[in-house]
């Protein structure tokens, strides 16, 4: 018990909170960007653009990314992008990797979400004089997004958890900071894992709660 009290000294907690902040910061940016990317790619894939076989090519790239481990994509962005002249640091490399990976996962959710809407809706809106874009953004997409909320949010929860993988390229996030603390004082091993498990749980659980709250609100 005494170990726990010592381990949770203000200095250690502050250090962990700094890590937690990086986790949240990287997660929020990645969630925002990957949502935009996912929406865009999902639409392209759904629209089945025949010109230059765009949809087919985009679809294949999405499938490739979806079927690779995130860890590998993190390595590619950290070690590979600089070879193309884009110098990355752990923060940008992690964000780019997360946006690529989660963007592809979200694109698939968006595609199946739009597909689940009755095609009659689109036809109805078009026959009322709307353009494809208007019908998509004012009629089909809002309904589709509503259906997608649970899947989207659980993907966002995954994203938050996945930031922990970036310890491998020394992103100074929560798990990495905990590892620094317990590697300097190994008696803190258990207290550290207890508290970071709780911290991750709180962040992710809050996201899950938001999901069910949003869903209920939309239903009314």
């Amino acid at each position: 018990m005494e170990t726990f009290i010592h381990a949770y000294s203000w200095i250690d907690i502050r250090f962990l909170l700094q890590g937690l902040w990086v986790t949240i910061y990287v997660s929020l940016i990645s969630i925002a960007l990957s949502f935009i990317v996912g929406l865009f790619l999902g639409l392209i894939r759904y629209m089945d653009i025949k010109k230059f076989r765009i949809s087919a090519i985009v679809g294949f790239i999405i499938d490739l990314i979806r079927n690779l481990p995130l860890l590998l994509i993190i390595f590619f962005t950290y070690f590979g992008l600089p070879q193309l002249g884009i110098v990355t640091n752990p923060v940008t490399a992690s964000i780019i990797a997360l946006v690529i990976f989660e963007g592809a996962m979200l694109a698939e959710i968006v595609r199946s979400g739009i597909s689940s809407i009755d095609p009659g809706q689109m036809e109805g809106a078009r026959s009322n004089g709307m353009t494809f874009g208007q019908a998509m953004f004012h009629v089909v997409l809002p309904q589709a997004l509503h259906n997608m909320i649970p899947a989207l949010l659980s993907q966002f929860v995954s994203l938050v958890k996945d930031t922990s993988l970036a310890t491998i390229i020394v992103l100074p996030e929560l798990l990495y900071h905990a590892q620094i603390i317990y590697s300097q004082n190994t008696t803190y091993l258990i207290p550290m894992y207890v508290i970071i498990a709780i911290m991750y749980f709180i962040v992710c659980f809050c996201l899950s709660l938001t999901a069910s709250y949003l869903q209920k609100r939309f239903q009314n």
């Binding site: 499938d63 079927n67 690779l68 070690f79 996945d162 091993l189 894992y193 970071i196 899950s208």
Partner: protein, 213 residues
Amino acid sequence: MWQIITNNWSAFLMGFWNTILCSIIALFFSLILGVIFALLEVAPPKFGRVIARIYVEIFRNIPLLVIVMIFYLIVPRFIVKLSGFQAGTIGLTLYTSAFIAETVKSGINSIGEGQMEGARSNGMTYIQAMRYVILPQAMKIVIPPLGNQFVNLIKNSSVLAFVAGFDLMYQAQIIAFATLKTIDTYVVVGLFYLILTMPLSYYMRYLEKKFAN
């Protein structure tokens, strides 16, 4: 790039084999655990429901890497010695089982109350009705989403690299260091992963379409 493959063939193969082995073991046990917790969650007793809920929420909201680290660094000190491969596989099993429990639960819920009532009024017990009427239908519905969980499981098995589990990703890191051809090595490893995951996810998409009609 070809040289990397030929020079390190046995290392790649060992990693490939360990990734497959870990995935299959984890899939088997997480299916069993997942179905058990799903059944607990839909069954009438409140106690079981609470337990299942807590289990699912814990393992869904904590990063896999943290779970695996706990099994690798803490459990061996107090309970039982676990190698990196074992700790990784156990962590992966528990983590995936929570997702499978959620999937199976929603499958069971989608079957509808009427079926259960019908089976019960024909003299079946709750367990019989679940076993012979509800579960077989539910499992059929959830096969595509379960397949996606399996793809995720294979990808997630790369956390074994953190605990010296000798999986594909671990071998990749070692080879990348030894040859200092970082990108080429990771491209090769990416191909190995795609060999496992690509056919599976295309098959699942095919099944999804088939069931939808």
